[in-house]
């Protein structure tokens, strides 16, 4: 499989993303970059750094901290902000809970995944941000495949698929009314492999949990969960040490690990691509083509 991976990053994608970031800074009063500490938002930070160099990135980062992050992610975030001299705004889901705006979930599968939207929308309103730059990609799922690069939201943060503006050539229309904001997706046209190849080409640091490491885990529903004080475990879920890595950076309550020995970026990329792409099996249309072959023979082609 590894030999099927194309390791080359398409440069046109970087040029396009930088153009989009510069348009965002020029067309909006108060843009903000939504930062999660994951690979996509790390990629965005790098692109923003390049877009405005030798000047500084002209907008802050916004991190919605659920309070259930991996300590490694927070450590990485602080290192990045410190090293690049970035402005960051951190908003805590815990505060939204304390204010009674959202309720903590209970039970075995409790997570703060759904709660963070409220914290985010409050932060956008409070900061009067009119453009929120995010690392979403169109290849992630079907609805995303249709989303514009400048995606207009109403004051409730809602996306109206029926009301999307036509987006032509590379002409971006970011004109909005007071109270509305735009989500900006500079890496819309990147695939997961493009992101990994970019991280590799740019030699970017990413949180250590992406690499294989020893960690306490429990098994649940056939998956490996990181053991942490945030996880509501049952009596038979006993933690033990295991070498694992994480494919995404999310909350410790809802991010499962994969068994892995990969401690180099190339190995991680190879593992991810292998898991993602199914081995080419028997031809899909075997049954069909047998019948078809018969038909062709009858028609006298062979």
């Amino acid at each position: 499989m590894t030999n099927q991976i194309n390791w080359e990053f398409p440069q046109a994608l970087e040029d396009e993303a930088i153009y989009i970031l510069r348009e965002t800074a020029a067309q909006f009063e108060k843009p903000v970059l939504l930062f999660s500490g994951g690979k996509d938002s790390i990629t965005l930070v790098r692109l923003a750094q390049k877009a405005f160099y030798p000047g500084k990135i002209p907008f802050p980062l916004l991190h919605v901290d659920t309070g259930h992050n991996f300590p490694e992610t927070i450590e990485f975030r602080d290192w990045l902000v410190d090293t690049l001299g970035l402005d960051i705004i951190v908003r805590n889901v815990q505060d939204s809970i304390d204010q009674g705006k959202v309720q903590e979930e209970t039970g075995k599968y409790a997570s703060r995944n759904a709660l963070q939207t409220v914290t985010l929308l409050d932060a956008i309103e409070e900061g009067k941000f009119d453009a929120c730059i995010g690392g979403a990609r169109r290849d992630e799922e079907k609805a995303r495949a249709k989303e514009r690069i400048f995606s207009v939201r109403d004051e409730f943060g809602q996306w109206n698929a029926k009301m999307q503006r036509p987006e032509l050539f590379d002409i971006l229309n970011g004109k909005i009314n007071i109270g509305e904001n735009v989500r900006v997706f500079p890496i819309s046209n990147w695939t997961e492999l493009d992101v990994w190849n970019y991280i590799r080409r740019e030699n970017l640091r990413i949180p250590s949990i992406y690499y294989a490491h020893e960690r306490e885990i429990i098994e649940r529903d056939g998956l490996y969960w990181p053991y942490s004080p945030f996880l509501n475990t049952t009596a038979d879920e006993v933690p033990y040490l295991q070498k694992v890595r994480f494919r995404t950076v999310g909350d410790m309550t809802c991010t499962a690990a994969v068994l892995s020995e990969a401690d180099k970026l190339e190995d991680i990329i190879a593992e991810i691509m292998e898991a993602k792409i199914s081995e080419r099996g028997a031809r899909i249309d075997d049954k069909r083509s047998e019948a078809a072959m018969e038909k062709r023979k009858q028609a006298g082609y062979f």
């Binding site: 398409p10 970087e14 040029d15 930088i18 348009e23 698929a161 987006e167 493009d194």
Partner: protein, 415 residues
């Protein structure tokens, strides 16, 4: 690695979804989880094969729910190229989405059902590919299996299409006809030799060898300024760089440039790409350009070469596609955005509206409705630095924005 952008259009039943699914499957671009979902969904439908059309048939579900159908972007890659497919619906009520999806394409892929031949939709797809001057046109005559792989039928359709090209004055560069059967994967990414009389490339082979039109040498140099970078730090105290993406042509260090509309001249001191110093900036590259002299330029201005200047238009005549439910009316004022430059524009007149099926020009209209295509003249508050779209597409298109609800209401192609 190059990125090739393809626009497909067609209706659900002409096999477009199956064709796209086949390209993805045969290039190993379908993730495992999606593949498993496809198997399961096909089983549920009582099929004895995996229906690849289900990959893009999210669109069908949308149609059933009555949601406006929109462009979907689909990605696949081969060892040499990354491909982006803008998959657009084919019905007349979605013409604007077709134009939207096709606007960035280098290849337009038109599907024809071998049984039905050229239908009204084929005309519209071709009209839009022609309007946008998409360089490459591939006509896939699909469902060849249903016409017994008949060479005579394929030739008949090809000849009819050739006639269409002649009547319309085809403005692209190349047209390729390929007989395919998406269902059996024949001539999509591989061939089983079922179409023994066809010696040409499969669709994927053809896409793999399409030449990119970087047009560095052909088109005039255009650098629209997005913003001015002035760090004002100790280290870069006097730095003034113009940030932007080269729209067309190329720029070299040491060359003389002129800033429009002011007309001030200077020489290029440096071309920078983050920490790298470049000698040349090519079309579509995002760079920062610094000049030898302090000249007054800002967002919306353009750096060009003195001997290749664009038009400075206060009156713009253009082909437009109207994209809004509220009609365009003469005398109304809109915002015109050409690249990164926005100016006020007043509609002087509607020269004519075109019937896309027979290219007939209907004059004397005072308004244009949703999906109408025609020619208009607008007067602008300040000059637009444009080329004719036919000469330099990268600097010849604009959009119109409604001043009140901010939506994009039209796309225009400068005459």
């Amino acid at each position: 690695m190059e990125v090739l952008r393809i626009a497909t259009s067609g209706s659900v039943d002409d096999g477009k979804s199956t064709l796209i699914g086949r390209l993805l499957y045969d290039t190993n671009s379908i993730p495992q989880d999606k593949m498993e979902a496809l198997h399961a969904a096909s089983k549920r439908k009582g099929l004895d094969f995996t229906d690849l059309s289900l990959l893009t048939d999210g669109l069908v579900a949308e149609r059933e729910q009555g949601i406006t159908i929109d462009v979907a972007h689909i990605y696949f890659s081969t060892p040499t190229r990354k491909y982006i497919i803008a998959d657009t619906p084919g019905h007349i009520e979605y013409t604007r989405n077709m134009v939207t999806g096709a606007s960035n394409a280098q290849v337009s892929l038109i599907l024809i059902d071998a049984r039905k031949g050229i239908v009204e939709q084929t005309f519209r797809h071709f009209f839009i590919a022609n309007l946008l001057r998409i360089p490459y046109l591939v006509v896939c005559v699909n469902k060849m299996d249903l016409v017994d792989y008949s060479e005579a039928r394929f030739n008949q359709i090809s000849e009819e299409f050739q006639q269409l090209l002649e009547n319309a004055g085809y403005k692209g560069r190349e047209v390729k006809f390929i007989p395919v059967s998406s269902l059996y994967g024949e001539n999509v990414a591989s061939s089983n030799g079922a179409i023994s009389w066809y010696q040409g490339p499969t669709l994927l082979d053809y896409l793999e060898q399409v030449q990119f039109d970087h047009a560095d040498s052909v088109h005039p140099a255009r650098f629209p300024i997005q913003s001015v970078i002035r760090p004002r730090t100790t280290e870069y105290h006097d730095f003034r760089g113009f940030a932007g993406k080269v729209a067309s042509g190329h720029f070299r260090v040491g060359e003389e440039v002129i800033s429009l509309p002011s007309g001030q001249r200077s020489k290029i001191k440096t071309i920078e790409q983050f920490e790298k110093q470049l000698d040349t900036a090519h079309a579509r590259e995002s760079v920062v350009i610094t000049l030898e002299d302090e000249i007054d330029s800002s967002r919306g201005n353009m750096l060009v070469k003195p001997d290749q200047q664009p038009q400075q238009l206060k009156e713009v005549t253009a082909q437009v596609c109207w994209m809004d439910a509220t009609p365009l009316t003469t005398g109304k004022t809109y915002l015109l955005q050409h690249g990164v430059n926005r100016v006020k524009a007043k509609v002087q007149q509607i020269n004519f509206v075109v019937d896309v099926t027979n290219y007939e020009q209907i004059e004397g209209k005072t308004s244009m409705g949703l999906n109408d295509i025609g020619k208009i003249t607008v007067k602008t508050a300040s000059p637009v630095l444009a080329d004719a779209y036919s000469v330099n597409p990268a600097n010849g298109a604009f959009i119109l924005i409604d001043e009140f609800n901010n939506t994009t209401v039209a796309v225009g192609f400068v005459e």
